[in-house]
Amino acid sequence: MTEYTTFAKTLSEELVIDRPVDVVYGALHKLADWPKHLPHVPAVDILYDDGTYQEFRMEVISEGGKRIRVRSIRKCNGGDRIEFFQPQPPVFLRHHAGFWTFKDQGQGTLVGTRHYWTVEETAASEQFPTNTGEHVKGLLAEHARFALSTWKKVLEA
């Protein structure tokens, strides 16, 4: 994989969702339905969607009740991979990108999420004065695990 070689940091998380691949992929692909499924995403504003390429703004309720709006651009291959990046990542990040993967496991789907990032050093140090790198990684890992566990809960219900 040559596409992410410029990134300094990466993490990955995965779990199995007991639903078929097409159902899981379809749920993550269909942005318009996210507010129906995800309690922490009250709104999604789709700016562009041709089925393969998507651009959207989503409102997210973070821990502590703060509402943030994030713009993302995605490339969807129709079956087992959705790539994403945030053209305007959180202030403590210079770059943030990654992808979801969906692998058939018989009755279920192994869903993986991989994140790549580079830190915006000054802003990150101000926000996380000690153990800056670990704090940033911890925050992104927590976000990744929360997204996976939420989708598992929603799709297995």
Partner: protein, 151 residues
């Protein structure tokens, strides 16, 4: 609708790819590009705006590219030109013994407009115009890259 244009450039694949990948440099290479703003670039994902001069006036498009060194630049336009609903494509770079073949392919869908006539004839007219722009741009890149390669 799908179209494609290709050209041979007498330069190695890395140099050729680099010229196309450096979107800000397009302003020096293509005479009709008035401005380029690089909004995001992480080495793989790029977002930019490009302002070009067209016979019907100045147009600004916003594009996104996926850069796979040194073989492929995949693109789409979340804000395509006026009259266009979808514009996507690929620049592909193939190594040969003495240079690089660059193929530009595009897939486009025009916005429906009954006042402007049947969609099929408009598709063909637009495709011809787009092929012309691609062919001209490829020639400009060839000239620029081969001139740089000599000096």
């Amino acid at each position: 609708m799908n179209i494609a244009q290709s050209i041979f450039i007498a330069a190695d694949i890395e140099t050729t790819y680099a010229a196309f990948a450096d979107i800000v440099r397009w302003k020096q290479i293509l005479p009709d590009v008035l401005d380029v703003k690089l909004l995001y670039d992480d080495g793989y994902n790029q977002e930019f705006t490009m302002t070009v001069e067209r016979p019907q006036g100045v147009e600004t498009v916003r594009g996104v590219r996926y850069c796979t060194y040194p073989f492929r630049l995949e693109l789409f336009q979340p804000e395509p030109p006026p009259g266009v609903a979808r514009m996507a494509g690929v620049w592909e770079f193939t190594n040969t013994d003495d240079g690089t073949v660059v193929e530009a392919s595009r897939q486009f869908t025009l916005r429906d407009n009954p006042d402007l006539g049947r969609l099929e004839s408009r598709d063909l007219t637009f495709a011809e115009k787009l092929r012309g722009y691609l062919a001209t741009n490829l020639e400009h890149f060839k000239r620029s890259i081969e001139t740089d390669a000599v000096h």
